[in-house]
Symmetry: C2
Subunit: 363 residues, 2 copies
């Protein structure tokens, strides 16, 4: 096809930090952007318009979960994830790799691919790069991700190296198997926290000319200093004109760090999961809204926030809902946390555009 | 004050069935009307505007639950239930009696009132007619309910008679204690399934000139034939110009019966509870949306329904959400069930207005 389905325009830079636009067939998304996670083809407790109202332009769905239930072919028959979920904006699917590798005792890995048992019903599955591509093409997201090998940290240098090489070979198989013209396939850089391996991984993948690149294998338990150092030695090896996606990052502090190092996209379950545990961001801090101190508090969760929750409800009511175990609390707190994060990202973007961006403190 | 805060206009009748308007300080509500239950000052899983969009003009909140948590004084301080919940339409509170009497081993009853222990934290409480009035005046609903004695059925005739007499004496105490001019206090007719006791209860309460009357003590396990027979001998003793409220009724079939016998208002947790168990009304029947038969079904839950769920989502997606244990399913199914019931009530109302109303079959 003449034009790739996902393209990046970089509008401004401050140091490595970039502000731009991610062009997709489901809309142009201002970057940097935070992508809420809809693990099972739904952002937990929220209607699609509630997710859109938080400012999200892309949601992530997990290929692993969607494949096991309701099944990728079923979603394909329904017209793909956009139609199935009734989400009109962009969708990104991960490859399933991260979840499969997290199954630990339930899976076995070879060069060929990964065998595992479904945690839902114990059924036997086999996923390799070709199968991951088939599943993701069926799911029909705007952006699919290469099937990579994720290792746990800390790891022996030889293991890191071996995983980088396998990720490279699997990336080639993914490229060969992927043939959906309206979907972009992103490569994933691995290499743990070893600068040399990160460089090797990036240099192997960049010539394959993926339309975008992810930094994988971070936010898996390493220190923030290691995350920062690894980002600093990875993004400079990635093409300037293509989008860069940091997988699994979702606190304001980590997003700031990611943006400082030139990341355009990030995703994480953190804001919505935190919400379901009754924790919300407000200003530069966080509140445990269940705390007795909020029982009579007539302020919104965050007075300057423009989300539905803050515009319409006060802390004492949300406090009551959380205490009473009412599910509406999850909805209200999820809306707030997602909007809070988008507002922060919007402010960082604006400051990159006007040249006043302040880099994240070195951890 | 010159005009009571809640008034009834009867516009048309077919047999005992009536169509009219319930005038409140928070809007005019077409009757008959179904009132969703917001037990803990929230209709479970729904935002206020989602409740309003189903066509509800009144929601019911339970004084018992609100009193225990977050506390009636706290809600008063927040400006009452309307302000606390951000619900702009009418609110009705029950007296707490039904829940307290349901505590069984946890409560002891005397002429004075009822002592019980909180099921939340074991704390000791005492509620009598005066305390129920104080609590409901604090909650600030448009309609408060008298504190009555609810007995279980079947019951010995002497026990029914004793409860009717106590309910009458307590009604007088409620009237004496109630002094909130912007709130209407409704009386509650008791008497089990004994026509003579129902007549006695009604004839004792009607001279007290409550602005509205409820039929209590039904839908507590008696047969539908007994419910129908009891309604038939009760509503004729109630003033024609005042609203009549059947407590705790919420299937389409029982609502039809209630309307046939001249009921204007009813409430029940049934539609929303049923939704949380994955059961939805469609046409004249009900669907278990979790059933495998809906896994690939591209129809809405009820093709002719105009609710958000039916307009926007199909059965296969809702099926997936239920199977996957996603909370959004509760929201979507609650919206549908409430709207389904309102649509039925709206059709009964229209048929009373145009004279074509068909009475419910005699059970």
């Amino acid at each position: 096809m003449t034009s790739p389905p996902v393209r990046m325009t970089v509008l401004a830079r401050v140091g490595q930090a970039r502000a731009g636009i991610l062009h997709t067939l489901h809309g142009d998304i201002p970057t940097p952007t935070f992508m809420p996670v809809g693990t099972q083809a739904t952002v937990k407790t929220l209607l699609p318009e509630q997710v859109a109202d938080t400012g999200a332009g892309v949601v992530l769905a997990n290929a692993f979960h969607c494949m096991l239930r309701p099944g990728a072919e079923r979603i394909a028959k329904a017209g793909g994830l956009h139609a199935f979920m009734r989400w009109p904006r962009a969708v990104l699917t991960d490859s399933g790799g991260f979840q499969i590798f997290s199954l630990a005792a339930l899976r076995s890995i070879s060069e060929e691919g990964v065998r595992f048992r479904s945690p839902i019903d114990g059924s036997r599955w086999f996923v390799d790069p070709e199968r991951s591509m088939r599943v993701q093409m069926d799911l029909g997201a705007d952006i699919a991700m290469a099937f990579d090998e994720c290792i746990r940290l800390p790891a022996h240098p030889a293991e890191v190296r071996r995983a980088v090489d396998r990720t490279t070979r699997w990336a080639e198989r993914c490229l060969a198997a992927h043939d959906r013209a309206d979907q972009a396939l992103f490569g994933i850089v691995q290499g743990g926290i070893d600068p040399e391996e990160r460089r090797r991984s990036a240099e192997a993948l960049v010539p394959m000319d993926f339309p975008g690149y992810a930094v994988g294998g971070l936010s898996v338990g390493e220190s923030r200093a290691d995350m920062a150092a690894t980002l600093a030695v990875t993004t400079p090896h990635l093409p300037v004109g293509k989008p860069r996606y940091l997988m699994g990052v979702g606190t304001p502090e980590d997003l700031h760090l990611a943006i400082t190092h030139g990341i355009d996209m990030a995703d994480c379950v953190h804001p919505t999961r935190m919400a379901r545990h009754g924790t919300v961001w407000s200003g530069d801090g966080r509140l445990q809204i269940k705390s007795a101190r909020y029982a009579d508090d007539a302020d919104p969760i965050e007075p300057e926030c423009d989300c539905l929750t803050c515009v319409r409800f006060d802390r004492r009511y949300v406090h009551h809902l959380v205490r009473a175990g009412e599910w509406l609390a999850h909805t209200l707190l999820s809306i707030h946390n997602l909007r809070h994060l988008q507002r922060r990202v919007e402010r960082w973007r604006a400051s990159i555009l006007d040249g006043t961006f302040q880099p994240a403190p070195v951890p």
